[in-house]
């Protein structure tokens, strides 16, 4: 398992430009909403005393009355984005079934984030489905190296298969959420009846953790299926999924072990980010630039982790493949 991670890391290192490419797509989509927000904030804060407070820190009074008046994607701007709050907020959206597009959410009157943001998420998902085939085919090459043209060709070549796999993955996630719903109600009922708040806390956090593990297991199967489809030039998404399921079941330890290692690295990343974020005092443009670099470095690291996983899964399959 560790050898596959090492080799996958080496492969990623040879093709670090892929991380930049994916980062650019991610950034471009997010800017669609963030840029108008910047203009809107400037107009709302112009000549207001709150602009000073918001520049140096956070003006709760201004934000509370401003946010009451908002209807669109800007409603997501609030104190919960600070520090590590962004990670908790996003994880909660995931585990409540709001990603993608609220497909798996139940019982809510209205989405906790604006539909435009959810739509951007769908676009991003389609974009990643497009890119994944090409990326895996780059990792497949022993010496690395890629061109944009070659990458796009590879992406287009595998698009149909990746898209079918994505649909299957969504269906599988839907099954997980559907199965989770009665389980969650049961556990929440136990939590409500618990003798102590500590037991209730363990129960509620525990069932969320279980859901996350289940989603990661589904992700593992379909990620391996994607790798299989490219590595073995499979045509059937369903059969590739079945093969992947068999592979993951037989080699659960190394397959899921990769996830555990990457999760530990991700946790360390968040901790380092939190530390750096707490040290940084963001006021003027220079400090904002440093903050922006920190932000993009973090997102790039996250993307790198995902691509590292893909590359490592490819190396793991190679290592597990029967010798000719």
């Amino acid at each position: 398992m560790l050898a596959s991670l090492r080799d996958g890391g080496r492969s990623l290192g040879l093709n670090w430009g892929l991380v930049v490419l994916v980062l650019v797509t991610n950034l471009a989509l997010a800017l669609v909403v963030a840029v108008p927000l910047a203009f809107q904030l400037e107009a709302e804060l112009e000549n207001r005393g709150a602009s000073s407070a918001m520049m140096y820190g956070f003006d709760y009074d201004w934000w509370s009355q401003w946010s009451e008046r908002q209807q669109g994607p800007e409603t997501a701007l609030g104190p919960e984005l600070l520090g590590t709050g962004f990670a908790l907020k996003n994880l909660e959206l995931l585990l409540k079934g709001w990603l993608p597009a609220g497909l798996f959410a139940r019982g809510a009157d209205r989405p906790p984030v604006d539909p435009l943001i959810l739509a951007l998420g769908v676009v991003y998902l389609v974009l990643q489905a497009f890119l994944t085939g090409g990326i895996i085919s780059v990792f497949r090459r022993p010496r690395g190296g890629w061109t944009l043209r070659g990458l796009v060709h590879g992406c287009g070549f595998y698009l149909g298969r990746m898209f079918r796999l994505s649909l299957l993955a969504l269906a599988a996630a839907g099954i997980v959420f559907a199965a989770n719903a009665p389980f969650a109600r049961f556990v929440d009922g136990l939590a409500r009846e618990a003798v102590s708040g500590r037991t209730a806390l363990v129960l509620t956090l525990g069932r969320h953790a279980l859901l996350l593990v289940a989603l990661l297991l589904v992700h593992m199967v379909f990620s391996h299926a994607r790798v299989l489809m490219v590595r073995e030039e499979r045509l059937s998404a369903l059969l590739a999924t079945v093969s992947s399921l068999g592979l993951c079941a037989r080699r659960l330890l190394p397959a899921f072990g990769q996830y555990l290692v990457l999760a530990a690295v991700a946790a360390a990343l968040i901790a380092v980010f939190a530390l750096a974020d707490s040290w940084l005092t963001v006021i003027g443009y220079r400090s904002q630039l440093v903050a922006l670099v920190l932000f993009e470095a973090f997102v790039a690291a996250r993307i790198a982790l995902r691509l590292w996983l893909l590359a490592s899964q490819l190396e793991l399959q190679r290592a597990l493949a029967p010798r000719p």
Binding site: G83, Q128, L205, L275
Partner: protein, 702 residues
């Protein structure tokens, strides 16, 4: 695993732990602001402090508690004195637990905690009180049971929360009567109301037949409405509780005796003088902590804390918060007169948190409790603070809830702000809010975000403040939210504004006068307003007309226009007096020219809301000059004009005295546009970062 890999993993784990620890939103420690010394019993310039209450409704109660059947079998003797000038022959009693009897009670028909949706889970969720007999004692005993009927002032004949009995012998003014009542109650389960049981935790409140208050010429004994509270007379409570061994018992008053009974049960006798209610709790799981509040100028108080085991780490915080309340409220109103107070940390899921009873109250905590969120401190200060208003002044909470909740909320935020600093902003993830303090989930504290005193109530006031006049009977508000806003948040802001306008010293004198004069006296809003007139010399009635007795909102804003002073141009008198054309001079580009340029500045204060208050204005100019103005705030706008250097800043209400201004962010204008641009890019970048992470997270499911 190779040693090098092990070392890397260990280093990674340590760095995670250290980084998370360092990155927690820890603000600098807060130094409490100084307090004036408390006013003693005979403080000059203040009304004397009454030593005892009227004691016109005293109860001697014996009760047998059966935790298996969840029942209480009780017998009480009520010594009641007629303090009115009328002979009285009918006597109403509250039977509060009949609100939980079924879905037909008045409170069950409303929306809220006691409504059917909260309760109709199973049989154990319901509770009741059944009066077995009512007798009038004395030289001639009279069985009043046949006269028992239920009163329904709201027309709901299914409600049994008020019963009445009639005696053939009226009680003359000033005379006394003794009643014996025997009853049985079933304790409801869960968070149906504040009373109830979960597992072995029992919180027993509003549990015995309690006589109404003869007040303002008639009986005042309302049914238990969905969100109203209570009203009762002062007396001496002598209560004997018998229950199985193994329980830790907390109650109003001091423990007078504890006896082991031959049948294996235990009997506790609690006594407390000069209170108007009695509450008790019993659980096998309580951990007990004790502390003593003993500071110069205050009577000593023994603090007894009954903690849930999983909250043992919060014991010191609970105790310190109780001391903060005793210290601050004791200074700002009048010192707590009882020798003991019991703090109860409610059990998970009990719904009994955040509530006050004489000399006993409940807090509420979560296992994960970052200090910045001031929980359990905030609720502890608040509920301990109720001792001073609900407990000692004891207004009619049914009809004028704000005289207790509003006063207390005002003082809670003041005490917490002074002692702990501003509260941080936080929320919980991956949990659920089961109501009344039962919050699971992982807490998040937003770094660097602080909510200044009173600001937490402004959103509610903006959104719902116009729905109801603040001062109205508790059950007549549009809904529970309006009740909450007009009982807690709005009156607290009104008092905070009054403090800003009067000054701290006068406000403290006002509250001390009111608290001392009306201790044990059931005051009304008019009593408070009369005290305001007395202490301040009058002239504040219009303020209360605009705030207490209205649903109007207060919102002042400022606009500024600064333009170069107009240079004469056009046809102007020439040297010979005939019109001569003069061209407008070009504005100098040289720095010296701009520095010498004179500006005409117009600062307009706008009144967007309907509440009219005198306001202050501060205008700062480029050359350092400052202009301080006042306006009576009555018209829709008023303009101040200045000539000279450009204005760089204008603030209406610079001292934030008008806490009830629902939109403080439009109170300040600055000339500098750079902060707006920088703030916009700073927060858009933060938003961008969040969104980028959210987009990437989609790949987990796709």
């Amino acid at each position: 695993m190779r040693p090098r890999t092990q070392g890397l993993l260990l280093a990674a784990l340590l760095s995670v732990a250290l980084a998370l620890e360092s990155a927690q939103a820890k603000g600098p420690g807060h130094e409490p602001l100084p307090l004036p010394p408390p006013a003693g019993k005979d403080a000059p310039g203040l009304p004397p402090l009454p030593e005892v209450s009227p004691r016109n409704a005293s109860y001697t109660i014996e009760v047998l508690f059966d935790p298996e059947k969840r029942t209480i079998t009780g017998s009480l003797v009520l010594d009641w004195r007629n303090t009115s000038d009328q002979a009285l022959a009918s006597f109403p009693f509250h039977l509060y637990w009949n609100a939980f009897r079924n879905n037909l009670s008045t409170s069950a028909r409303g929306v809220g905690r006691r409504a059917p949706a909260d309760r109709m889970k199973d049989e154990r969720s319901f509770g009741w009180t059944e009066v077995k007999s009512v007798r009038r004692l004395g030289e001639v005993e009279e069985d009043l049971t046949p006269t028992l009927s239920y009163l329904n002032e709201d027309g709901n004949t299914d409600d049994r929360t008020v019963m009445q009995v009639r005696s053939s012998a009226p009680v003359a003014p000033g005379a006394s009567a003794r009643f014996r009542i025997e009853w049985e109650s079933r304790i409801p389960h869960g968070s149906v109301g504040r009373a109830g049981w979960v597992h072995d935790y029992h919180f027993i409140v509003q549990w015995f037949p309690k006589i109404g208050v003869f007040w303002q010429g008639q009986w005042n004994c309302h049914p238990f409405y969905t969100w109203t509270e209570f009203f009762s007379d002062f007396g001496v409570y002598d209560v004997k509780l018998t229950l199985p061994r193994g329980f830790v018992v907390g109650a109003t008053g001091r423990l007078e005796s504890k006896a082991e009974n031959p049948d294996g049960s235990e009997s506790y006798r609690f006594v407390q003088e000069d209170v108007h209610d009695f509450a008790w709790t019993a659980s096998r799981r309580f951990l007990e902590r004790r502390a003593r509040f003993d500071e110069a100028g205050y009577p000593a108080v023994e603090i007894r804390l009954l903690l849930q085991p999983e909250h043992a780490h919060l014991g010191d915080r609970y105790l310190e918060a109780a001391k903060i309340a005793l210290r601050t409220y004791g200074t700002w109103s009048a010192p707590y007169p009882y020798p003991q107070i019991t703090v109860v940390d409610p059990a998970w899921g009990s719904g009994s948190g955040g509530m006050e009873y004489p000399t006993l109250f409940t807090g509420g905590a979560s296992v994960l409790a970052p200090p910045e969120l001031q929980s359990p401190e905030g609720v502890t200060i608040h509920e301990a603070g109720h001792q001073f208003w609900y407990g000692l002044v004891a207004n009619n909470e049914f009809e004028e809830a704000w005289l207790d909740e509003g006063f207390n909320s005002y003082m809670t935020s003041k005490a917490a702000d002074r002692s702990l600093g501003p509260e941080a902003w936080g929320r919980r993830y991956f949990g659920a809010d089961y109501g009344r303090g039962a919050r699971a989930g992982w807490p998040f504290v937003a770094p660097g975000v602080r909510i200044s005193r009173g600001s937490e109530s402004l959103p509610g006031l903006r959104q719902g403040g116009e729905a109801d006049v603040m001062a109205k009977k508790g059950w007549t508000y549009r809904d529970g939210g309006s009740y909450g806003l007009n009982s807690y948040g709005k009156p607290a802001l009104v008092l905070q504004t009054l403090e800003g306008l009067l000054g701290e010293e006068t406000m403290v004198k006002l509250l001390r006068t009111y608290a001392r004069r009306f201790r044990f006296a059931h005051p009304t809003t008019e009593d408070f307003l009369a005290t305001v007139d007395e202490v301040t010399g009058g002239g504040w009635r219009s303020y209360f007309n605009e705030t207490f007795f209205s649903g109007d909102l207060c919102d002042y804003a400022v606009e500024v226009k600064s333009e170069p002073v107009r240079q004469p141009a056009g046809f102007l008198p020439g040297p010979d007096g005939t019109p001569a054309y003069r061209e407008a001079p070009r504005r100098g580009r040289a720095k010296d020219d701009r520095r010498d340029e004179r500006f005409e500045t117009r600062v307009t204060i706008l009144r967007h809301g309907e509440v009219r208050l005198p306001v202050e204005l501060r205008v700062e100019f480029e050359d350092g000059r400052v202009a301080n103005e006042r306006w009576n705030g009555r018209d829709r706008w008023y303009r101040f004009q200045y000539e000279g250097q450009k204005a760089v800043r204008a603030v209406v209400d610079p001292g934030r005295k008008i806490a009830i201004d629902v939109n403080p962010s439009n109170n300040e204008w600055i000339a500098n546009e750079r902060p707006a641009r920088r703030a916009a890019t700073k927060w858009a970048a933060r938003y961008l970062f969040w969104l980028q992470n959210l987009l990437e997270l989609h790949t987990v499911v796709g």
